[in-house]
Each structure stands twice: as structure tokens, then as C-alpha cells.
């Protein structure tokens, strides 16, 4: 837990991550369900360039614009990497030249922020955030409670309630990260 704090305390400033505003209609999942569906779960932050911004490169891929964002793994919860690994995520949308493209709920990384990420491996081997911004839980530091994980804001997503009833969500005020991660380790495949 202490190492978790040391890895994350520096530089964490959570302003909830904004996401695109177009529509995606998505089934509402709990964090445990997302963990069970994920190919990897990590605590990570986006790599930063010399100017302090997020490293990101957009390009065309099969008629769509994708943006590739390298992230640094701080804590490996489940999956093939260890702490310190650099992984490049492929995210939907971006801007190339004078053309922009967005899809609802696409995850957006902010410089200096850390997230608990549920990741999906695509058929071509690339990695992306599972269920877009729904699979991206922001972290914050609370002087009294330590590191906290918050619910995804998922602003570009319109949620459909699950058939089996309501989802048990992460508490809006945040939950301590360490026991949350321990729980997810049991859920992750």
C-alpha cells in the first residue's frame, strides 16, 4: 500500500476526465464485471511530452481516425505487464489535419492524472480501454483517506440499465484504492 501511494501521490491531480459528447449507448457494468471482461487491469497515467502535455498521435485507420496514447503502468492489477511497463493504447477518434472525428464516450487522458483502467486486447493485437470511458476510473488523493478511486464519469455514454437490475457502482465520494484493487484481483480473469 505504501508503494502504491509512493507511485501515485506525485503528480496526481484529478479533474474528472472529459470525454466526447456524441452518443454511445452502453450497457451499464459494475467494476467487478468490467474486471472479469478485461484482458488487463492497471493503474496508469499517460506519458507526457516535453511541454507537459499528453503524448498522443492520431492517424487514419480503415476510414476512421484513431489516436495512440502511450501510458505508464504504475500498478499491475491483472494482465501481462508489471509496474513500470509502457503500453500504447489505441483510442477512437482524434484530429488529423483539418478533419476531426469523435465517437461518444471515447476516453480522454489528462496530463498528470492517474486512472484505474480496464483494458481490452483487439484482434490485431492493439490495446484499448474496455467500454471506452466507462472502463476508466479516475483517482484522487484524499489527505485523510489516501488514494481514492472514483466512478467513471462516462459523459459521452448513454447507459442502458442491465436486465438483472441496477449496477452497484463505485461510491461517488471515492473508495480507497487498495481494497478496491484487491477486490478486482479476485474478479479479473
Amino acid at each position: 500500500m505504501r508503494s502504491l501511494h509512493a507511485a501515485l501521490l506525485a503528480g496526481i491531480l484529478v479533474v474528472f476526465a472529459p470525454v466526447a459528447a456524441q452518443a454511445t449507448v452502453m450497457l451499464h457494468r459494475s467494476a467487478d464485471e468490467l474486471a472479469a471482461m478485461s484482458d488487463a487491469v492497471v493503474v496508469a497515467s499517460a506519458e507526457r511530452d516535453a511541454g507537459g502535455g499528453v503524448v498522443a498521435e492520431s492517424r487514419w485507420l480503415a476510414g476512421r481516425i484513431v489516436t495512440e496514447v502511450p501510458i505508464r503502468v504504475r500498478v499491475a492489477v491483472a494482465g501481462p505487464w508489471g509496474a513500470g511497463a509502457s503500453v500504447t493504447l489505441r483510442l477512437p477518434g482524434g484530429v488529423v489535419g483539418d478533419t476531426g472525428q469523435r465517437v461518444s464516450g471515447a476516453p480522454v487522458f489528462r496530463a498528470g492524472e492517474s486512472y484505474l483502467l480496464f483494458l481490452q486486447r483487439l484482434p490485431d493485437g492493439a490495446w484499448t480501454v474496455l467500454d471506452m470511458s466507462a472502463g476508466m476510473l479516475p483517482l484522487s488523493v484524499d489527505p485523510a483517506r489516501g488514494l481514492l478511486v472514483h466512478p467513471s464519469r462516462a459523459e459521452g455514454i448513454r447507459f442502458v440499465e442491465p436486465a438483472g437490475g441496477r449496477v452497484v457502482e463505485v461510491a461517488a465520494a471515492g473508495e480507497p484504492l487498495a481494497p478496491f484493487v484487491a477486490r478486482l484481483r479476485r474478479s479479473a480473469r
Partner: protein, 278 residues
Amino acid sequence: MRLAALAAALSLAAPEARAWCRTTTMPAQPDPLVCPAEGRPLAWPSGCAGFRFDPTVRPDPGDIAPAELERALDGAARAWAGLSCGGSAGASPSFALARLPDAVTDAGYEGLGRDTNTVAFRRTWGLDAFHPPDAAAVTVVTFGARSAAILDADTDLNLRGPSNPRGFRFATDGDAASADLQTVLTHELGHLQGLAHSGRREAVMWFQAGRGEQRQTPTDDDAAGLCDAYPPGASVCDPSAAGAVLRGGGVGCAAGSGGGAGAWWLLGLAALIARRRG
């Protein structure tokens, strides 16, 4: 007593959740109840836009009969027509949305004048970053980064089938276990026109929907958003864009698209033009 007064004061001072919002050039709507603060709001430049249904994949007729599918597609487009911007004249937004004749189209955006705003059911899903496994519907919007003009908008629906067992079942009868097709489409078409999510629970552009929930009619709040994007009398349907449509492009005016699904829209457009000239 003091606490009550303080609470009342805070209540008065707290900013009311913004209702309708518009999509901007920046991916920034930090809270679904707060409008995007960054970027320029997106809008179609021509005062009109059309979409085509790609009939390659259709729902099982046992779930949605062909006539019901047509009704949902037409109804979702028609729902946005004739909204009132208020005022004594009762003017409407200067924008017309049309369902154009069905066409089999390629997904993606080329920018060569052949792009079409497409609504399509998909029976393969989850193969790329644009189609997350739990998504029932996804809309990809292409726009000019400098002009803030919407160039293209495609909606994919994640249809359950033998090759896509995790897809969604859609319905038009309010079935409690299914996503209501017309509700989803009406919401997506709001995004096609440049609207973001609204902070009003009853609005079509509200960001949540229960299974089987039907919310198919734009409210005054939805209308206000559209009126902001397309104030009465501010936009004119650009005939050159219509030409692009006639050649199969995605931008709008469906003049010449003939009768059937597009006829109601042509009538609306004629009324709009007549009103402007009057």
C-alpha cells in the same frame, strides 16, 4: 435556523444544471449536466442533412417486423421536424433532417464527396476501438476541425445474432428486456444534428435509458438546443450540398430523392422556404 438559511442561500446560489448542450470541436463535457466549456459548437453548415439506412443487416422479423422497422426509422427522423423555437411567430429551427432512400454503404469517412450519413445494424462487433463490447449503439461524427462544420455522422447498432451473441435485442413494442429502437435512433439523430447530452431527465438527449423505456419525442429543451444551433431564418439549405447528395454523398438536401420516406421532409423544406420568402 441558520443552517436552513444557509442551505437556502446555497440553493439559490448554486448554478442550475444546464439543460440542452451542443457538441463542440473539443472532447470535453466534464459532466453530463454541464455543457462542454471548450471548443466551438458543431453544426451542419447547409441547414439540412440526410441519413440513409443500410439494409444489409436487419433485425429478426420476429423481433421487429419490416413495417415496424420502417416506422421507427421514419419516426425518429420525423420527430425532429417542426419543433418550435417559441416566440409569438412560433418559428422553427432552420434545419431539416431527412431520411434518404436506403443504400448499401461502406463504413468510414473518405472525404471525397461519396460519404453518407449511415444508420446500420451490425452483426460483427468488438473488432476495433470504435465498437466496445457493451455498446448498443455508437455514432461516429466527423467534422472540420477549423470550421466546426459537421461532415459526416454514422450510427452503428449492435444487433444480437448467431455471430454476435453479446449484441443487443432491439424492439419497438416497449419490451422490457430490449432497447427501444426508436428511442435510441431519435437520440442518435439528435447527436447527428450537433446536440450533446441534456441535463433534463425527460429530454430525448438525457444520457440514460432503461431497458424498454420509450422516450421518442423531443421536448422543449431538445428544441431549444436545436434552435440555438440553427436559429430560425439563420440557415439556408445549400443546393450545392444537395448536389452532393444526389451523387450519393452524405450532406443533405434530399431534393430529388423522390417520394416515400423523404416526401414528408420535402414538404417541410418547401414550407420553410416559403416562410422565409414570405
